[in-house]
């Protein structure tokens, strides 16, 4: 009960300067998180340096909820690499393995076919109508490392957005009522 009384008192006694200071420090935290994220994008050369595995098509290697670290380099794409790609018209990236590579003599452009380890057939069913292969511009990055289970936080927040709002509301309340 005393805690509730303290909270009400602190809300009442907010002065403008203190409020502004807290708003600035909150802004600093958000900005530094953004800087780290953009910096990671530069270092790894990939549009999204970290992805969460959403489906079971790469089991038992990658399960739903694992996170993958991506890296994109100018190195040619070779069979066996695990790549993350976007199909035109679909927003969710797919993480599968390359099983076929045809690289042109002159231009160095490449036709690539992928398949999920746990799927029976290759990904031609997932590609756009009439598309037989992926090209380099479809591929966002290669998976180079992974951490198990950490991605569940993102999956829960995406599938049950109410939890996201509760968390942000609680964080906001914490920032406003904290004395430092």
């Amino acid at each position: 009960m005393g805690w509730i009384g303290d909270t009400v008192d602190s809300v009442k006694s907010i002065q403008l300067r203190q409020l502004l200071t807290q708003a600035v420090s909150l802004g600093m935290i958000v900005t530094s998180a953004l800087i780290i994220w953009k910096g990671l994008m530069c270092i790894t050369g990939s549009e999204s340096p970290v992805v969460v595995v959403l489906s079971g098509s790469m089991e038992p290697g990658f399960k739903r909820g694992d996170i993958l670290f991506l890296h994109m380099s100018k190195d040619p794409i070779r069979a066996g690499e695990i790549v993350v790609f976007n199909i035109d018209g679909r927003e969710i990236p797919i993480v599968h393995r390359v099983i076929k590579v045809h690289e042109r003599q002159d231009t160095g452009e490449v036709d690539v076919l992928t398949k999920g380890d746990n799927n029976y057939g290759d990904d031609r069913l997932l590609y756009a109508q009439g598309q037989l292969y992926l090209n380099r511009h479809h591929i966002m990055g290669r998976a180079v490392g992974f951490l198990p289970y950490v991605g569940w936080v993102t999956i829960i927040m995406t599938e049950k957005p109410i939890i996201k709002y509760i968390l942000i509301g609680a964080l906001g309340l914490l920032v406003i009522t904290s004395k430092d």
């Binding site: 990658f62 066996g80 393995r97 099983i99 076929k100 045809h102 003599q105 992974f146 951490l147």
Partner: protein, 167 residues
């Protein structure tokens, strides 16, 4: 400063940091391993070799694959993903890689094996360049760790070639 909330926050941050450091060290320990794998692939039979209606060559073959990949396993290895790919060059393409067969090895005991199999995935060229062509068979492996960096490497076996005529 010493309320329950602050202590919980400090504890959580500390434990997450320690967990992250442990994952990083675990991954680094994989670099201490020096593997010495070996493999052999024999083509027992070319089952058939035809030109498809669309104009692409297709071949079906039976292989005998034997390998010893036990030295690749470490305490941080979850599984080994291996596949056999045929590599060859054509006038239009500087490199073609076609995966013929793959398998997942979940544990060290299964890493020394011998298998007699036909190609799991269709061997279809982009064009009709396969008659009489020489190709390499490569056994690739991808070490998938329990946590951290993934390693991949391969053994290249040369000296295979397609028949001169369709059959």
């Amino acid at each position: 400063m010493h309320s329950f909330g602050y202590r919980l926050n400090g504890l959580l941050t500390f434990s997450l940091t320690i967990l992250a450091i442990m994952c990083a060290i675990t991954s680094l320990s994989d670099n201490l391993n020096t593997p010495s794998p070996s493999a052999e692939i024999q083509i027992m039979n070319i089952n058939w070799f035809q030109k498809q209606p669309q104009g692409n060559d297709e071949v079906s073959l039976t292989m005998n694959i034997s390998a010893d990949l036990q030295s690749l396993f470490t305490w941080n290895t979850k599984q080994l993903f291996i596949f056999v790919a045929a590599e060859y060059e054509t006038p239009k393409n500087s490199l073609n890689q076609v995966s013929l067969w793959d398998a997942i090895i979940p544990a060290k005991e299964h890493a020394k094996f011998w298998i007699h199999t036909s190609n799991k995935y269709r061997f279809v060229d982009q064009g009709n360049n396969l008659r009489g062509k020489e190709f390499n068979l490569t056994l690739h492996w991808h070490v998938m760790p329990k946590t951290g960096k993934m390693f991949a490497d391969k053994i290249v076996l040369t000296g295979y070639s397609f028949p001169e005529e369709y059959r």
